[in-house]
């Protein structure tokens, strides 16, 4: 090719935009971040031999966010073998540092590393690398308090979270630390507990005053200004921070009260650093309206002059706790247990009086004799010859599923009514079971209205309904985050859409599944676990449609969001699906290992059952087979079959694909008799349930016959 061709001409095309007087191109001005991105892309493309970018001993993995005075990364600590968060402070602010400031920073860093409190994110290490200060701390995986607040909550739940954060702040104050940048974005959810992070080092500019508020007043509307790099967070700043006066713990108290006030009443009671409680008097963001004592407590914390506020954070927290106690007693007397209103569709009227059998019987609204008849009729009306056999099998599966649901629901209710189960565990259990019931109902809905395509997928869709293992696993339920709580109508509607999308997917109609998941996505706030699930379902549907690029992006997004919101079950689903999407690529071995590991970890953490475990093996085997790696495929299949029989699934319909895959493997390896045996095993599982004339059964018979030829 001609070296002076079009490429050569265009070697350095963009310099014109960096000439003086012209607006700069939006380059990454953080050299470390630029290096990390390049390394990440090169590693993704060319494998592990490309070195990762390190800060100190920590290998930077991905950017979690950028705010305050630096960039936060998820990183890997090879010494202790754990993931951590590393915040790297911006070089610009470092440059301005005086020796005194450096000394103060050191002091602060040591105090932070000493501070161990259940409501404070742990700081592991503060250090310097390449002239930049970094803080290695506990990796918060549960999302921020801001995200948690995006869902409507009761005032009580809101105050409880803030009391926790307040305890963390108070502990820091006792240790001599001032946060200086308290806001909901700096509080992280750990399970259902709030923990304060991003402490102390918030101010790096070599002066004691927080930030220079000047850029705010000129030119650009604050709403469009990044509240990140240089500005701090004016919305929550105390008046003395604006006035550049000395800042102490009472500034944190002020910020805390702004944030709590905002969470309760829906607006911040401050205008440019000046308390203005009149602005939103009467409006509330929570239901029922917060009590008056709460407003009084906040008004005191929002006083313009620090000496008129609560003397300490401890005092404010104590006042809030007292109020909660008072309210709780009153609520008990008035209406029994109402704080559990977040349990879905169930009105709880106090333990002991609840109708547990009635709760269990709600499954009958979805599956009853009339429904069963409608289902048979619907399948028959499609005219497929296997309608009767399939219909019988579907009915048997749904009978069993309904029975299991009823038993689990009654058991949970009874244990709670007897006082043997905590409110929070019960609420999560109920939410989990309701979710399964939603899926159950959505599937039946579609089956009753079957066309030929639905009829073909009917049995497998019923068999593929998720089991109840997770809903009965206390540890998994309590470890997860808001995944299991459904507290607003919008959520319920979005989840209903997801249930339907999932049912379409199982019925083998990915186009409808994709449309449904996209619609649900439009109704889901980005930070909610449901959005992780919606992305994941979009990805799975795209994968089934053969749109691999879209699938990969959507699944990556789903996995990331699931990870960020603690939605382990969704993470498991996304990672398992990802195996199928990326696994076929040549040279994907390492990628397959990685996603298989992600999937495996998430399946276990989510407390899922053997079926989901086996799905990981199945996907691994399929990926290996499509790359032509027969040994790896066989190992995965063997592992899957082992796990299945240990999990009591040996005779389960869901194992048929595994046997079929095994047959294909043996055929490719030239082992005809073993291939025949494996296919026969798949046939034995499928034929009695699907019916002899089902296309899947016919296809298997055809395969077996082809071996003989």
């Amino acid at each position: 090719m001609d070296p002076a061709g079009p490429d050569a001409e265009r070697e350095q095309p963009g310099d014109l935009a960096s000439s003086p007087g012209l607006p700069q191109r939006p380059e990454e001005d953080d050299a470390l971040e630029a290096r990390r991105m390049l390394a990440a892309v090169r590693r993704g493309l060319f494998g592990k031999s490309v070195p990762e970018v390190h800060v100190g001993r920590f290998a930077l993995r991905r950017q979690l966010g950028c705010g305050g005075m630096g960039v936060v990364y998820e990183a890997w600590d090879p010494e202790l073998g754990r993931a951590v968060a590393v915040k790297v402070l911006r070089p610009r602010s470092d440059a301005a540092r005086s020796p005194e400031h450096r000394a103060r920073l050191e002091l602060e860093a040591r105090a932070m590393a000493r501070l161990q409190h259940p409501n404070v994110l742990t700081v592991y290490e503060v250090g310097e690398a390449d002239g930049r200060t970094f803080v290695a701390m506990e990796l918060a995986t549960g999302g921020t308090l801001r995200a948690w607040l995006a869902t409507p909550r009761s005032w009580r739940a809101v105050v409880e979270r803030f009391v926790e954060a307040g305890r963390g702040l108070a502990a820091a104050h006792t240790a001599g630390l001032v946060h200086r940048d308290f806001k909901p974005e700096n509080v992280f959810m750990h399970g259902h507990t709030a923990r304060v992070g991003d402490f102390g080092l918030a101010r790096q500019d070599g002066s004691d005053e927080p930030t220079d508020p000047e850029p705010l007043q000129a030119g650009v509307d604050p709403r469009w200004t990044r509240t990140g790099t240089t500005l701090g967070t004016p919305a929550y700043m105390a008046p003395e921070q604006w006035e550049r006066a000395t800042v102490d713990a009472r500034a944190d108290q002020f910020s805390f009260c702004v944030a709590l006030y905002e969470a309760l009443y829906g607006a911040r009671p401050v205008v440019a650093g000046v308390p203005d409680l009149g602005v939103v008097a009467g409006a509330t963001a929570v239901v029922p309206a917060p009590p008056r004592w709460l407003r009084a407590a906040l008004e005191r914390g929002l006083q313009r002059r620090p000496e008129q506020r609560w003397p300490t954070m401890h005092a404010l927290v104590a006042e809030l706790e007292r109020g909660l106690q008072r309210g709780r007693r009153r609520a008990w007397l008035a209406a029994g247990l109402t704080s559990l209103a977040l349990a879905v569709g169930v009105v709880l009227t106090g333990r002991g009086r609840i109708d547990c059998a009635g709760e269990g019987a709600r499954v009958e609204a979805h599956w009853n004799a009339a429904r069963a008849a409608a289902l048979q009729a619907g399948l028959a009306a499609t005219g497929v010859p296997y309608a009767e056999a399939s219909g019988r099998a579907v009915a048997a599966i749904l009978d069993a599923r309904a029975g299991a649901w009823r038993a689990a629901r009654v058991e949970a209710c009874q244990a709670w009514a007897d006082g043997a189960r905590s409110d929070s565990l019960y609420a999560r259990q109920v939410a989990c079971l309701e979710r399964r019931l939603g899926e159950f109902g959505a599937t039946i809905e579609l089956l009753v209205d079957a066309d030929e395509q639905v009829a073909a997928g009917a049995v497998e869709a019923a068999a593929g309904l998720r089991g109840l293992e997770r809903c009965q696993d206390a540890e998994a339920l309590l470890a997860g985050d808001a995944t299991v709580t459904i507290d607003s109508l919008a959520d319920v509607q979005a989840l209903a859409g997801l249930d339907r999308a999932r049912a379409w997917l199982r019925l083998g109609v990915p186009a409808r599944a994709r449309a449904g998941a996209l619609a649900a996505l439009s109704r889901t706030p980005a930070r909610m676990p449901a959005s992780a699930e919606a992305h994941t379902l979009v990805g799975r549907a795209a994968a089934d449609l053969g749109e691999l690029a879209e699938a990969e992006l959507a699944l990556a997004e789903g996995f990331r969001r699931a990870y960020a919101t603690g939605a382990d079950e969704v993470a498991a689903e996304a990672a398992t699906a990802m195996l199928g999407v990326v696994g076929g690529r040549p040279g994907a071995d390492a990628l397959v290992l990685r996603w298989a590991r992600h999937a495996r970890v998430a399946v276990r953490r989510a407390g899922l059952g053997a079926a989901e475990e086996v799905a990981v093996d199945d996907a691994t085997a399929k990926a290996s087979l499509s790359r032509g790696d027969l040994d790896a495929a066989e190992a995965a299949l063997r592992a899957g079959l082992g796990r299945a029989s240990a999990g009591g699934l040996a005779d389960d319909l869901r194992l048929a694909p595994l046997h079929a895959l095994s047959g294909e493997l043996h055929r490719r390896a030239g082992r005809s008799s073993q291939a025949r045996a494996a296919w026969q095993r798949a046939l034995d599982l499928l034929a009695p349930q699907l019916g002899e004339t089902h296309p899947r059964v016919l296809a298997l018979r055809e395969r077996i016959a082809s071996l003989a030829r």
């Binding site: 014109l16 991105m37 892309v41 469009w224 990044r226 619609a519 439009s522 690029a549």
Partner: protein, 203 residues
């Protein structure tokens, strides 16, 4: 030095080193492409863009530059990403109408040192995606009209009118966003400077 096309051919044939060199050459431009568009996870999109080049190699025509080809892949990756992000409606996103700000109002993480620059970036984000792309590639990457047409998948004649429309809408956005007349004037002057620079290089 090997040309882009030579490196690309070598990469397709399995030469990872050639691929690595090619990626190194164009990384900054592709990173810039996604910079004012996605908050985090940009590296995934960058990676997909380079992978996409391999997958779409049949579409690479020797007469256009590799960079143009790369940008057209980047655009497809961005649009696919935005489709999954869309939340406004169940309907198809029209990238001639929806802006990045509509699709994802969370702020991008670019923080400009100067207000004029920040304002310009914010206003760009509020244009329909294809208009934003047209202006950014034209101003910052110096793409000639013919190549811009290839990236945007429109006839060359359409590009000129699209740039005209983009400039109009950009000015309207600036007028809405700028809080002081002085800031608006300074920012508009910058756009004029960019246009003059483009005219000088004969676009």
């Amino acid at each position: 030095m090997a040309t882009d096309s030579e490196l690309f051919a070598a990469w397709q044939a399995g030469d990872a080193e050639a691929g690595d060199e090619l990626v190194g050459r164009h990384f900054a431009a592709v990173a810039r492409f996604f910079r004012n568009k996605v908050a985090t996870g940009g590296e995934d999109l960058i990676q997909h863009t380079f992978l996409g080049c391999l997958e779409a190699r049949a579409r690479f025509r020797q007469e256009s530059s590799f960079r143009t080809f790369l940008f057209s892949i980047a655009r497809n990756v961005l649009l696919a990403h935005l489709r999954t992000l869309r939340r406004a409606h169940d309907r198809q996103v029209d990238f001639g109408v929806s802006s990045l700000f509509d699709l994802d109002p969370s702020p991008s993480q670019i923080v400009a040192r100067e207000q004029e620059q920040q304002l310009l970036l914010d206003a760009l984000r509020r244009l329909p995606v294809d208009l934003q792309l047209a202006l950014e590639l034209f101003y910052w990457e110096g793409l000639p009209l013919a190549e811009l047409a290839q990236v945007l998948e429109v006839p060359p004649g359409t590009v000129k009118s699209r740039l005209f429309r983009a400039r109009q809408q950009l000015k309207e956005q600036l007028e809405q966003l700028a809080r002081t007349p002085a800031l608006l004037r300074d920012t508009l002057e910058r756009i004029d400077a960019l246009d003059r620079a483009a005219a000088e290089r004969g676009a």
